[in-house]
Amino acid sequence: MEKTILTLEHIRRLNVDTYELVLSGDTSAMERPGQFVNLELPELFLRRPVSVANWTEDGLLLLVRAVGVGTARLTAAEPGTRFDTLVGLGNGFDPEERGREPVLIGGGIGLAPLYALARRMTGLGLTPMVALGFRTGADAFYLEEFAALGCSLFLATEDGSLGTKGFVTDCVRAHIPQADYAFACGPTPMLRSVAGLTQLAGGQFSLEARMGCGFGACMGCTIETAGGPKRVCRDGPVFRKEELKW
C-alpha cells in the first residue's frame, strides 16, 4: 500500500450513472488485478474504495457508478482534480489458480476488477471467457473493451433486452457449461448464485463491505470464513470459494 496523490486526467460517461476515470500518479504499489484504491473526497470523512480496472506504471483506470454522495462527487470531478489516495489495497485475484476453463463473471459495476484481470490473463496468453450480467441493456458498458481483448463475451440481462434473459448465472449454466472455475465480482446475491453453480470446481470471489480504513486496522469489514474471521479489505476482497461460508 502507498499513500499518494492521483490526478484525474480524463473522465468519460459510459451510461446513465457509470463513468470511466483515468488518473495519473504513482501506481508502484499495485501488484494484482482485483486490488483496489481508497480515495479521499472533500468534506467526506471516510475514503471511498474503488477497484482498479487497469493500471500502467504511471496511472490507473477506475470504473465508477454514481450511487451516493461520494461517487456522485467523484464522477462530477473535473480533469486536473487531485485525490489523496491509498493505492494497492487488498489481496487481488490470483490468476495462477484458475482451473481448466476459467470464466470471469461480473454483475454491473462489478465488472471493473475483472477487466484488470482479463488484461492480465491476455498478457499471460490466455483469452478467458467473460460473462456479464446487467439489469437491462441500457446499463451495459465496457463490452467493446472486453471484446477488444479477444475475450468471448456472454451477456445476460434481467429483462432480456440484451443477451440471455435472466441472471448471469443462468447464462453461464446455459452457454458455458464447460467453465469449471469462476473469477466473480458483483452484488452479493449474484455471488451467492455463482458459488451455487455446481459446474464450478473452484473460484475467486471479490466481496464488498462498508469500510473504516481499507487497510486492515479497524476490523470494520470482518466476515467469518472457513478459516476464521477475515478482513474483506486486507485478507480479501478476493476470497476462494471454499473459504466463503455461504
Binding site: M1, K3, F45, L46, R210, A217, C218, M219, C221, R234
Partner: protein, 304 residues
Amino acid sequence: MVDLRVELAGTTLKNPVIPASGTFGYGWEFAELYDLNVLGSFSFKGTTGAPRVGNPLPRIAETPAGMLNAVGLQNPGVDAVIAEELPHIARIFQGPLIANVGGFSLEEYAENCRKLTACPQTAILEVNISCPNVHCGGKNFGSDPTGAAAVTRAVRAVTDKPVFMKLSPNVADIAEIARACADAGADGLCLINTLLGMRIDLKTRRPVLANRTGGLSGPAVFPVALRMVWDVFEAVNLPIIGCGGVSSAEDVCEMMLAGASAVEVGAANLKDPFACRTIAANLPAACRRLGVTKISELTGGAHR
C-alpha cells in the same frame, strides 16, 4: 529543541502521541508503513477473555466529520494476544505499550489484567469500561460511578502496573465517574470512548449498522472530548490521556491545555494511516509557535 517527553503515572513516553485502541490493530499494518518507535506509545485492540468475532456487518457508517463503528471488540482473546500478538509487537515497537482490556464481568476484567500484567511489555493497563458496542445486561460498567469503581477495584487488586480507566462520554457527569475511579485506586484516566450514535439508510429504511447503534468518533466529537477532559482535570488529581477527534498537532496541544498529559488518536489513523507519525512530527513546530520548549508544560495550561 523542544522536549516532547511526557509522563503517565511513572512511565515516560518520548512524546504524547498514542494511537487509540481499535484503530491501530496490533500495529502490523502501520509498521509496514513507518517505524512505530516514533510514537509515544500505542494502545492495542481491546482484549477480552474469550476470542470474539464481533458484531455482524455493516459495522461502519459515515457521519459529518466523523464515523460510527460497531465492531464489538473483535479480538482473538487474551491468551492468543499474549502468545501471538505481543511477540510480534515486540519486533515492531520497543516503547512502553498500553494494553487495552475489555470485559463482561468483574472477574473477566481482573483475569485479563492479571494475565497482561505478567507480560513485561505491558507498561500501562487501559481498562475499557465504556465500549458502547457490547452489551452486558443493558448498560456498561462505565455508565455509573458504582460500576466504574467496582471494575477499578477488581483490577487494582490483581496488578501493580499503572491502571488507566477508559471512560464513556455517554453520561451526565463524567467528573463523578472519574472521582469514583480515582477513589477506587486508578492511576490515571483515558477519555473519551465513543458517543452513542446511529444512522438510517434511506433506501432500505433500516439502521445502517447491523448493531443499530455504534460509537461516534472523529473530529465531530473533539469539542465534547475537550470539555470532558477539562471537567475531569478539575475533579481529580490523576494523569489524563485525552482522546476524541484529535487529528493534528494543534489538537494535541489543545487537549493538553485542557488537562491531558498525553493524547490518543483514533479515527484519524483510519483516514490517514500516517496520521500519528505526521502529528508527532509536527509537534515541535506547534510547540515553538506556542513558545513552549517542554510540551509537558501545556498540561492543564488553560486552567490557570
